[in-house]
């Protein structure tokens, strides 16, 4: 009647038992280690421990203020163009089979990306200095 039960009965949910056992062991190890550090470790509660860690330097002001996101933009753009390159691999493998039509399709794909690239450069997204 119910598909899930039917699947479980025919495929045999037992074959997934090792996965379950591994999950349980992983959970047990983590909780055991955390429990042990709490029981065995010494407890020193000081006020300094509660403030934000800033590499040993005393903290200055609020963390929530505007800052440049240059690196973030570069990283995002990297991912974008990286993915474009990934699409070339399957095309390179099938270069002969796809023929002229495939070549034109890829050309269009690249042309669209070049449009984006020109836009990014002109917009100054890759300009590191202000």
């Amino acid at each position: 009647m119910c598909n899930f039960l039917w699947l479980a009965s025919t495929e045999g949910i037992g074959s997934y038992a090792p996965v379950l056992i591994q999950l349980l062991i992983a959970g047990a190890v983590v909780s055991l280690l955390m429990l042990l550090t709490h029981i065995l470790g010494p407890k020193r509660k000081t006020k300094d421990k509660l403030i934000n860690f800033e590499s040993g330097i005393e903290q200055i002001g609020n963390a929530r203020k505007p800052m440049g996101v240059k690196y973030f933009i570069v990283a995002i753009l990297f991912v974008l163009f990286d993915v474009e390159v990934i699409f070339f691999y399957p095309y390179a493998v099938n270069f002969r089979e796809l023929g002229t039509e495939g070549f034109l399709a890829v050309l269009m794909f690249v042309a669209l990306f070049v449009c984006g690239f020109v836009y990014v450069i002109k917009k100054g997204a890759l300009k590191w200095e202000d």
Binding site: M1, C2, N3, F4, L112, C115, V118, Y119, K122, K123
Partner: protein, 465 residues
């Protein structure tokens, strides 16, 4: 599909215009011209399709059965692009004031329209997913485009996080449906292929229902709507609440009408009926308590979504007509009232006090639009509600649902007329942030008269079907 490709090309053109052009005003002119071109392309596509269909040369399946066009979907595209054209003419001045990247805002609108055209013609769940994503991602950006405004950032972040979550649910639903049916093609679904109801498929349907319900802000998936609509810059709220919402409803209806047609109708009425009742109840009752007209319109859009749910419940020929009429009536009226709202400085009800004395034309257009939203006869909203209710009544077991909807429509009269009362019967000094230009007056007059004309002869909208 010329218009589909054109939207992407036009968006790229807008982006490059943003690089070279400095004058903000010229973006609006350029976008309006491109949008007019898009309307023309859509009309051409529709006429071309009909001509080829007559000589039996046209195939409805495009791009390897990924898209499927018919008169109905193509006509919907024509209407949506026309509404977008009037939207740009009416709120273009306000879009220029949102921020510095005006060209990009328009480019994002064109990308959204690309999603709209995909959603109206999809034949494959993958294209449905693609359409919803192309539709949503520009909206996340647009809602956060007023960067210095904390509320706008909040709206963007909230919408993005919750939208991403609902997309995950949509994908899960698509996966389950594929697992159950072995196909992404919505015309190839059969829930009784093995003789009994396919439970995995039904779970998939429920997931799709939740995800699409989120996108159209049907209760109980509506919680993002008030904050996002209230926080987003007002011109973009107008676009999100109208063209985007009705397009997702169009996709929603097509999924249930063509994809899930052989599902037990009783099941549909029970589950969709519950969602409809909740949406109508929460939307209307909460709208009564709002102080800000913009936020009231956000709740009103939830309430209107409740009525549009009847289209999904009906999923028949009448529902197709109802969808077209409701889409146009709701879009025109909401764009009109947002156009008036954008002129005002104060978005609370008090901001409308005495508007009829000082700017009688604005007050008149606002009243026509609000009456259309409430569903007063002789406005387009009346026939919109009439058609969707007639569509729902063709399904057995929807009688009490319809009675409930009528009661809720009566409740909605209260908050819509509160604005009209403020405009006509209260005294005050409403302040405008921008003067009303001749252009505004012309567009508002077109929208106002369209609402009335479609209220007298709704068949005009169905001529092409």
């Amino acid at each position: 599909m010329k218009p589909l490709i054109a939207t992407a090309v036009f968006a790229i053109l807008m982006m490059f215009a943003a690089l070279t052009v400095k004058e903000k005003k010229s973006f609006t002119h350029f976008a309006a011209i491109l949008m007019l071109g898009l309307v023309g392309l859509n009309v051409w596509e529709l006429a071309d399709y009909n001509r080829l269909l007559a000589s039996a040369q046209a195939s409805p399946d495009l791009f390897g059965k990924m898209l499927r066009v018919d008169n109905y979907a193509l006509w919907f595209n024509v209407l949506m692009s026309s509404c977008s054209f009037f939207y740009i003419l009416l709120v273009g001045r306000s879009i220029e004031k949102v921020g510095v990247h005006v060209g990009e805002y328009y480019a994002l609108h064109f990308f959204i329209l690309c999603g709209v055209f995909l959603l109206s013609t999809y034949n494959n769940l993958l294209i449905l997913f693609l359409g919803i994503e192309i539709l949503s991602i520009p909206q996340y950006i647009l809602s956060g485009s007023d960067k210095r405004n904390l509320k706008s950032s909040e709206a963007s972040l909230k919408y993005f996080l919750m939208g991403a979550f609902s997309t995950g649910i949509l994908l899960m639903g698509i996966v389950l449906l594929y697992g159950a049916m072995g196909t992404f093609d919505i015309h190839g679904f059969n829930f009784y292929a093995t003789g009994t109801l396919n439970i995995m498929g039904v779970v998939g349907v429920l997931f799709m229902l939740v995800a699409l319900g989120f996108k159209v802000s049907a209760a109980p998936m509506h919680f993002w709507t008030p904050d996002v609509y209230d926080g987003s810059p007002t011109p973009f709220t107008a676009f999100m609440a109208t063209i985007v919402k009705v397009s997702v409803f169009f996709a929603f209806m097509r999924l249930f009408m063509e994809g899930f047609a052989n599902l037990d109708p009783y099941w549909k009425v029970t589950v969709l009926g519950t969602i409809t009742v909740l949406t109508l109840l929460i939307g209307n009752i909460t709208a009564v308590y709002q102080q800000s007209v913009k936020r009231m319109l956000a709740y009103s859009s939830i309430a209107q979504a409740g009525f549009m749910m009847f289209v999904v419940i009906g999923s028949n020929a009448m529902a197709m007509k109802g969808m077209i009429i409701y889409a146009v009536a709701y879009t025109l009226a909401t764009v009109g009232i947002f156009g008036v709202l954008l002129k005002l400085k104060d978005y609370t009800y008090d901001g409308f006090n005495g508007l009829a004395k000082k700017h009688p034309f604005l007050a008149l257009i606002a009243s026509i639009c609000l009456m259309s939203l409430a569903g007063i006869p002789l406005t387009a909203g009346f026939f919109a509600k009439w058609f969707v209710i007639a569509a729902a009544l063709e399904q057995p077991g929807t009688f009490w649902l319809v009675i409930f909807a009528l009661v809720m429509a009566a409740v909605s009269l209260y908050y819509y007329f509160k604005v009209i009362m403020a405009m006509y019967f209260k005294t005050g000094e409403p302040e405008l942030i921008t003067p009303v230009t001749t252009m505004d007056k012309v567009v508002m007059a077109i929208i106002g008269s369209a609402v009335i004309v479609f209220g007298i002869a709704p068949d005009m909208l169905l001529a092409w079907i």
